[in-house]
C-alpha cells in the first residue's frame, strides 16, 4: 500500500516558493490500477517521482507498506526503487546505445540476482513481452512500441509489486497504445499495483480509479 499524507513539493523559482504539489494526501491499495490525470504542468510527473522514491519532498509523510519513506537514506531509497518499483516512462528511459537484453538486465546489476542468472531472467521477461527475437538489437534502432515493450520487460524483470508509468503511451499510435495497455492490465491481473499518468481517456478507461490533479492539488 502506498500512502501520502499532506505531501508538498516546493521549488524555489526566482526566490519565491513554487508548489509543484500542495498538501497531497492519497492512498493506493495493493493490486489497484490507478490513473493520474491533469493538465500539463499540474504535477503528475512530480507525484509519480515521489511515489517512485525518485524525488524528495519538502513536507508531509510517505508510507510504503510499513516503511516510512521520509526516513530512508539514499541507499535505502535506491533499494526500494530496485526491489519494489518498476518504472515505465514516456521517453522509455532506456539506455540508448545498449541492446534490449542489456537494458532488461540492468536492474539486476543492483540487487543480488546471481550474475549467471541475469541473462536467463532478462530473456524470460523479454519473452513475456514477445521481444525475445529483438534481444540483441540496440534500443535506438527500435520502434516506439518495441521500446516500450523493452521498458516494460525491464520494469517486471525484478518482479516488483508496483509498476509506475508516466505517459507510457504518449509517443505511440492508438493501436500500439492499446496493446501496451493490455499488457498493463495483464500485469495488474497478476497482482501488481499499477499507477499510470496519462492524458488519454482511453488509457484511463483501463483503470479502476482516476486521480485528477490541478495545480499541485488533488481535486477528485
Amino acid at each position: 500500500m502506498l500512502k501520502l499524507e499532506n505531501v508538498s513539493k516546493i521549488y524555489v523559482v526566482g526566490g519565491k516558493p513554487f508548489y509543484a504539489l500542495r498538501d497531497v494526501s492519497l492512498e493506493i491499495g495493493d493490486g489497484e490500477m490507478v490513473a493520474v490525470r491533469g493538465r500539463s504542468g499540474a504535477g503528475k510527473s512530480t507525484l509519480l517521482h515521489i511515489l517512485g522514491a525518485l524525488d524528495t519532498f519538502e513536507r508531509g509523510d510517505y508510507w510504503m507498506d510499513d516503511v516510512h519513506v521520509n526516513e530512508l537514506n539514499s541507499r535505502q531509497l535506491a533499494k526500494i526503487r530496485n526491489r519494489k518499483i518498476g518504472f515505465v516512462l514516456q521517453d522509455f528511459s532506456l539506455i540508448n546505445h545498449k541492446t534490449a537484453l542489456y537494458n532488461v538486465k540492468a536492474p539486476m546489476l543492483f540487487n543480488n540476482v546471481p550474475y549467471r542468472q541475469m541473462k536467463s531472467k532478462a530473456m524470460q521477461a523479454l519473452c513475456e513481452m514477445h521481444m525475445e527475437s529483438q534481444a540483441k538489437k540496440d534500443v535506438v534502432n527500435m520502434s516506439g512500441g518495441q521500446r516500450q515493450r523493452v521498458a516494460i520487460a525491464r520494469a517486471i524483470v525484478n518482479d516488483t509489486p508496483i509498476i509506475l508509468a508516466d505517459e507510457p503511451t504518449g509517443n505511440l499510435d492508438s493501436s500500439t497504445a492499446a496493446e501496451i495497455m493490455e499488457i498493463f492490465k495483464k500485469l495488474n491481473g497478476e497482482g501488481k499495483t499499477v499507477v499510470i499518468v496519462t492524458h488519454d481517456d482511453a488509457v484511463a478507461s483501463y483503470c479502476h480509479r482516476t486521480i485528477t490533479i490541478s495545480d499541485g492539488k488533488i481535486i477528485e
Binding site: H49, G52, L54, D55, S74, R75, L77, A78, K79, R81, N82, R83, F87, L89, Q90, D91, S93, L94, I95, H97, K98, Y102, A106, P107, M108, L109, F110, N111, Y115, R154
Partner: protein, 392 residues
C-alpha cells in the same frame, strides 16, 4: 562482475580512442622513465668521476693499426713505454674474474693500490679500503651479498678470503673502461652497471697459489696518471706520444663531454616523451570529459533502476582512474622490471630508482586525482531527477 559490467559499459563506446591514449601514455611514460634513468646514470657517473682522484690523469684508447699486432699486445707496449716516460707516475688498469659466492656467481675485481686511490666509488656503509691492508679487503655490491655486513669475512669459490670493509649502494656502478668512440667520451662510457660485484685488494692475494680461472679485465684501455711534480713540458711529451698511438681524453675533456651528454639528454631526449605525455594528458582529459558528460543522462536511468548517484559517480570515477593508471604503471614497470629490453632498445646504461620513478608516480596520482574529481564536480550540481527532466 556486475560492477565490472557497469565499468565496461562506460568505456566500451570509446574503446578505440582509449586504447590509443593508453598506448601513448604507456610509451610516453616508458620513454620518460628510461630517459630519466639514462640521465641519472650520466649524472651519477660524472659525480663518481669528479669525486675520484683523476684530475691529473688522461684516458687512452689505443687505435687499431693494421700491422698484425693484436690490440692488446700493442696496448701493453704503449703502457710500458708510457710508464717509463718522465712525469708519469703510474698506469691505471685492472683485472677481473668470475667467482662463485655460495650458490651465486659474482664478478671479482682485483684492484691495485693505485686503482683504489684514484677511483673512489660511493658506499652506503663502511669505508673505501684501508691505506695499507694487511689482509685481503673487499668492497661488495649487489643483492647477492644480502645479509653480509661490514666486518664479516667472505670466502669466494676461487679460494680468496676477504674481510668486508665497505658496501656499495643500490647501484653497482664500476669503472669498466669499456666502450669508447672517437668523438665524445663522457664519464658514462667509463663506467658500467652490473648486478653484483666484489672489489678486492690485489696485492694481498697470492695469485700463484690460487685457482683463479678465466682471468680477464681490460687490457686495451687505460689511464695514465701524471706524477705530482711533473712539468708541463713532460706532460706535453707524454700526451704527444699517446696521441700518436690512439685517442687521448683529459679530465677536462671527459667532464666537458659528460656535461654535453647531460645537456643533450635534456634538450634532445626529454622533449619527445614530454610532448607525448602532454598530448596524452590532454587527450585523456578530453576523453574523460566526454565520457563523464555523455554518461550523465545514463546516471538518471541507472538511478531509476536502483543505483545511487554516489555509487554511479564512484564507479565511473574508478573506471577512468583504473583504465588510465594501469598503462601508466605498466610503462613504469616495463622499465623497472625488464632492464635488458630497455638496454636493447636504447643501447645505453641507466639507473632507475625512487628519484626517477617518484615524479612520474606523482604525475599519475595527479592524473588519477583529476579523473576522480571530474565526475564528482560535473555531477554535483545535478540531481538525477533534474537530469531525467532535462532529457525529456
Amino acid at each position: 562482475m556486475k560492477t565490472f559490467t557497469l565499468c565496461l559499459s562506460f568505456v566500451k563506446r570509446y574503446a578505440l580512442s582509449i586504447c590509443i591514449t593508453c598506448l601513448t601514455l604507456a610509451s610516453g611514460i616508458f620513454l620518460l622513465v628510461a630517459m630519466v634513468g639514462m640521465y641519472q646514470f650520466q649524472k651519477y657517473t660524472l659525480e663518481v668521476y669528479k669525486a675520484s682522484d683523476l684530475q691529473d690523469a688522461v684516458f687512452v684508447m689505443p687505435s687499431f693499426f693494421e700491422d698484425g699486432t693484436e690490440l692488446r699486445e700493442r696496448s701493453q707496449m704503449i703502457q710500458e713505454t708510457a710508464s717509463q716516460m718522465d712525469g708519469v707516475s703510474h698506469i691505471l688498469n685492472y683485472q677481473s674474474s668470475i667467482a662463485g659466492y655460495g650458490d651465486h656467481v659474482t664478478n671479482a675485481m682485483y684492484w691495485s693500490k693505485e686503482m683504489r686511490d684514484n677511483f673512489k666509488l660511493q658506499l652506503v656503509e663502511g669505508e673505501w679500503f684501508s691505506e695499507d691492508p694487511t689482509e685481503t679487503e673487499a668492497v661488495i655490491g649487489g643483492a647477492v651479498w644480502d645479509g653480509v655486513s661490514v666486518g664479516d669475512t667472505v670466502t669466494l669459490s676461487n679460494g680468496v678470503t676477504a674481510k668486508v670493509v665497505g658496501i656499495m649502494g643500490e647501484h653497482v656502478v664500476y669503472p669498466a673502461f669499456s666502450s669508447g668512440t672517437n668523438d665524445a667520451f663522457p664519464a658514462s662510457k667509463l663506467f658500467n652497471t652490473i648486478d653484483t660485484m666484489v672489489f678486492l685488494t690485489e696485492e694481498t692475494i697470492d695469485f700463484a697459489s690460487l685457482n683463479i680461472k678465466n682471468m680477464s679485465g681490460n687490457k686495451t684501455m687505460f689511464f695514465v696518471c701524471f706524477a705530482d711534480d711533473a712539468t708541463q713540458a713532460e706532460k706535453d711529451a707524454v700526451l704527444l706520444y699517446l696521441e700518436s698511438e690512439g685517442v687521448v681524453r683529459t679530465y677536462e675533456d671527459i667532464v666537458q663531454d659528460s656535461e654535453d651528454a647531460l645537456a643533450s639528454i635534456v634538450t634532445e631526449q626529454f622533449p619527445l616523451p614530454l610532448f607525448l605525455l602532454c598530448i596524452t594528458t590532454i587527450g585523456i582529459l578530453c576523453i574523460c570529459a566526454v565520457i563523464v558528460k555523455r554518461s550523465m543522462p545514463d546516471m538518471a536511468k541507472y538511478y531509476l533502476l536502483g543505483c545511487t548517484k554516489a555509487r554511479y559517480t564512484g564507479i565511473l570515477a574508478g573506471t577512468m582512474a583504473c583504465v588510465f593508471s594501469i598503462p601508466a604503471l605498466l610503462g613504469i614497470a616495463a622499465v623497472v622490471l625488464s632492464p635488458d629490453v630497455v638496454h636493447q632498445i636504447f643501447h645505453a646504461k641507466y639507473i632507475i630508482d625512487a628519484h626517477c620513478v617518484l615524479p612520474i608516480i606523482l604525475y599519475v596520482c595527479l592524473l588519477v586525482g583529476i579523473l576522480i574529481l571530474m565526475p564528482m564536480l560535473f555531477y554535483r550540481k545535478y540531481s538525477p531527477v533534474d537530469l531525467y527532466r532535462r532529457n525529456l
